[in-house]
């Protein structure tokens, strides 16, 4: 339906609501990255065929919704039956028929598919009652579990495009900027620059052309919030960008999506086409004289392209080398024109702020850090998944209340935020409120929202080595401190992990880090040493153990550990085949023997042993 | 005030004072530069022609420069070569139809007459006024350009 004026949007909204009221039950199948990896697609196909075969009166395929990420990826694939909120976890294809028979045709609950609370050992029927959900505050991610991914009717039914309509009809661009400024929204990409101020600067630059770019190059390893948003709720991103374009006077926008997210590209493309068909993008949006187009620009696998000036070069089809930003990109950005660049989550916040007002948004979170933040809670935590919490929630609440603590009840060691630009925070910082300023002060940063929990089996030297290795691979190679400095820092961490370092090397690393930070051209180099510096700061003992005692306390650094087979060995022979060097020998039911000379310490035996008979020391 | 650079081959004795003056004036770190002016055999008996840049109206050297290192100095009327910009591609040396962009091997740079920034040393030292740097008399008739 092509919308010629704002009134038509309201009419359409009412019509959809009326239509949806007729659907008695909805089957929401999570199609987030985690559930897809676990086979959600097969489940959907099965639902479709079974629904067709059974021909239940009052039920068509319409009742089936392929939603975005529901968050609790650990328990996927997830199926939710609304309106009751029945929450089925780890659903398999063979369960589909059962679900339809029991819970759709009838009103029964299938006990075996319910979530089992590990603390109380009780089955929980509805997801609202699960700790993982009850401690969250879902604003931006709210649509994700509820609507069909690329269905504009679902989006409009959930108040979608009302913010755009409000902005275009009853607000001036300046008032839009004022509202965003007053809301206190800060860039969700990591650095936390006030969004309103960015827009105002861009608007005030005189130029024939302004651009709006959405940064969907979620490069931080261990983060997938933006992926979930782009795939599961693409219209909110488009709406946010359109409002931003209206505010700064842009006619052309770009969404830069990283190469590893093909589904995000497909869904965004679909959403853009649908928005065009309905007069919500393109010329004369909603019949006003405001026009805006969005083009998708695919990344091609370069972490550095998350940096704004590199991203703009990449959009222009060039090599993604950053340039020095003494002249900021809001003033001279893409093709040297004033450009607003925000990340996916920031744009997704905008429609909500415009719709509900700045003061409503302001009340969420803390005074200087309003709103919520989405995180991907992963690592050695029990409940991994996609979460959204109010700013200022403590790390402890996130890791223990929502995350359910560490896997296997092991001790918490550190939490890594901010990806390769962030740092590792130790247990003493667990009560730190999560916001831009507190994390930065503690030596880490918000980053785009990856939160990786580590237990005592994670070696901090190894983590620092990992991140530096990552950055050496991802550095564009333009400036010397980053190209050569990070390379040498990585070489030094390798030296530590091999037990070949001296105490003086630690100081050398700290000094070189400082020089890389002040000397590098872009954010990648300037924040690159953070994982190293934060681990040296909080886990100095562990470094000293590697250097002085030639010992890796976590049992990770290969040069410093040995694998041994203990008396617990039952002689099950499970470890013999996986050993790539045939270092393990033994007969059935007899204790196996590991030849240390042949052992390459690959950990294959350790991973398969079910009797904890392999000891790492 | 406007000046003009006058060359009178019939007055040239081939004493090569101009060469010396040019070379000394363009010294770098007390090493003499390559002369930008050459008194050459004019073809007749005892006729010398001091050959130097004619500061053409539509200079081939400027056209040949791909990095814009050669520019007209509106104050002196000389086409000057900015050494900081020059990339030593030798295009101007090859392109000048009068051979007046020259490669100075000693200093590893391309040189050409710059009229000494508005006071050419060669004219100063020419004993016979074969080279002269003279103010232009204001003409009454002016042609609108």
């Amino acid at each position: 339906m092509y919308l010629d004026n704002p009134q038509q949007l309201i009419d359409w909204h009412d019509k959809i609501i009326a239509k949806q009221k007729k659907i008695k039950k909805k089957i929401l199948v999570c199609c987030g990255p985690g559930c897809l990896a676990n086979g959600a697609q097969d489940i959907i196909e099965r639902f479709k065929t079974v629904l067709k075969e059974k021909k239940i009166s009052g039920f068509t395929v319409d009742a089936l919704k392929e939603t975005g990420c529901h968050g609790f990826c650990e328990q996927g694939p997830l199926v939710v039956i609304e309106p009751k909120g029945l929450y089925y976890t780890k659903v398999k294809v063979k369960d589909v028929e059962d679900i339809i028979e029991q819970s759709i045709k009838n009103d029964k609950t299938i006990d075996r598919l319910l979530y089992n609370d590990p603390q109380t050992d009780k089955k929980i029927e509805k997801y609202q009652d699960i700790n993982f959900y009850s401690h969250q505050k879902k604003i931006v991610l709210n649509n994700l579990g509820n609507i069909n991914q690329c269905n504009i009717e679902d989006y409009i039914a959930n108040d979608g495009y009302q913010a755009l309509s409000k902005a275009l009809t009853s607000m001036s661009p300046q008032r839009v900027i004022d509202t965003v400024t007053k809301s206190g929204l800060r860039g969700r990409g990591g650095a936390g620059f006030p969004t309103g101020r960015k827009w105002a600067t861009c608007r005030n630059v005189e130029s024939d052309v302004h651009y709006v770019i959405c940064n969907g190059d979620e490069g931080d390893p261990g983060a997938f919030m933006d992926r979930a948003l782009m795939e599961g709720d693409p219209f909110s991103v488009l709406e946010g960008m359109t409002i931003a374009a209206f505010a700064v006077g842009a006619k052309q926008g770009y969404i830069y999506v990283r190469e590893e997210y093909p589904l995000a590209v497909v869904n965004l493309q679909k959403a853009i086409e649908i928005a065009h068909e309905n007069g919500l993008l393109g010329d004369n949006i909603l019949g006003t004289d405001f026009s805006f187009n969005i083009k998708i620009s695919r990344g091609a696998g370069a972490f550095v392209c998350g940096e704004s000036s590199a991203l703009m070069k990449s959009v222009a089809g060039e090599v993604g080398e950053p340039r020095a930003k003494y002249i900021r990109s809001v003033i001279k950005g893409l093709y040297d024109k004033p450009t607003v660049l925000n990340n996916v989550e920031t744009f997704a916040n905008v429609p909500i702020i415009i719709r509900k007002g700045a003061s409503w948004y302001n009340k969420i979170g803390t005074p200087k850090n309003s709103g919520t933040k989405a995180f991907s809670l992963v690592g050695k935590v029990r409940n991994t998944g996609l979460i959204e919490v109010a700013m200022g929630t403590t790390l402890r609440e996130i890791i223990y209340d929502i995350g359910g603590g560490i896997i296997d009840g092991r001790p918490f060691k550190a939490v890594q935020t901010g990806g390769p630009s962030g740092g590792c925070l130790p247990a003493s910082k667990l009560d730190l409120p999560v916001d831009f300023d507190s994390l930065k002060e503690a030596g880490s940063m918000m980053g785009s929202g990856g939160m990786i929990v580590m237990d005592d089996r994670t070696c901090m030297v190894d983590v620092a080595k990992y991140f530096l290795g990552f950055l050496v691979n991802e550095s564009c190679g333009k400036c010397v401190p980053c190209r050569e400095g990070l390379y040498q820092l990585h070489a030094l961490t390798v030296k530590v992990s091999e037990g070949k370092a001296e105490e003086a090397d630690l100081e050398k690393m700290e000094k070189l880090s400082e020089m890389v930070i002040i000397g590098s051209l872009c954010g990648l180099g300037k924040s690159g040493p953070n994982p190293l510096l934060s681990t040296i700061k909080y886990f100095r003992d562990e470094y000293m153990a590697h250097i002085r005692d030639k010992r890796c306390p976590a049992g990770v650094c290969r040069a410093l550990i040995t694998y041994k087979i203990t008396d617990a060995c039952t002689g099950c022979m499970a470890c013999i085949a996986p050993c790539p060097t045939h270092a393990i020998t033994g007969k059935k039911n007899e204790r196996h023997v590991l030849d240390q000379k042949l052992c390459t310490k690959c950990g294959a035996c350790f991973a398969v042993c079910r009797y904890d008979a392999i000891l790492v020391s | 005030m406007n000046y003009r650079f006058i060359v009178r081959p019939n007055l040239c004795t081939g004493c090569r004072s101009c060469e010396l003056a040019c070379s000394f004036t363009h010294s770098i770190d007390n090493i003499r530069g390559l002369t930008r002016i050459y008194p050459l055999d004019g073809g007749f008996k005892d006729l010398w022609v001091p050959v130097t840049c004619l500061q053409c109206e539509d200079p081939a050297c400027v056209k040949s420069c791909l990095v814009d290192a050669l520019r007209l100095n509106p104050n002196t009327g000389a086409v000057e070569l900015n050494q900081d910009i020059c990339v030593h591609c030798m295009a101007c040396v090859a392109a000048c139809p009068f051979g007046c962009s020259i490669f100075d091997e000693q200093h590893d740079m391309i040189v050409k007459c710059d009229l000494c920034g508005g006071d050419p040393a060669c004219a100063h030292f020419c004993p016979t006024k074969a080279l002269e740097w003279k103010p232009i008399e204001v003409k009454k008739k002016k042609v609108a350009i």
């Binding site: 990826c73 490069g219 992926r227 990344g299 993604g320 998944g385 990856g450 | -």
Partner: protein
Amino acid sequence: MKQNLDKLSDIFNRYPKNQESLIAVLQDIQKEYHYLPEETLQETAKTLNVPLSKVFSASTFYNAFSHYPRGEKVIRVCVGTTCHIRGAHLVQEQLENLLNIKAGSTTKDLKYTLETVSCVGACSQAPVVIVNNKYYGHVKVSDAKKLLRSK
């Protein structure tokens, strides 16, 4: 190796002929041929009116592009942070040993290509291995052989 270039014009027709389309075009070529044959780079330079050196520079800068033919089965080991601390490097090593190649290369018989990828955003399933775009979660070292056999 001469490549069939017929599909190239289809790819070019999808985009405006300018530098802005360069990366998209290269991606489509990569998708079509599974790598970037030399001739396609030359054609791209000509068609988009971008210097060949710029095309080559971009195609070597970005990780997504390969200049050599890839195997029938492309195995990508996610080495994102979560996968790393859950042992992805061990899986990678096991695959390297089994295939007798290093990550980033292809077996001589062009059957397998082993690559690493920095994060595919499926961290809750860590470690993750992707075989020809199919995701395998919670992979163990001992699963390596199974992965090679998988379809």
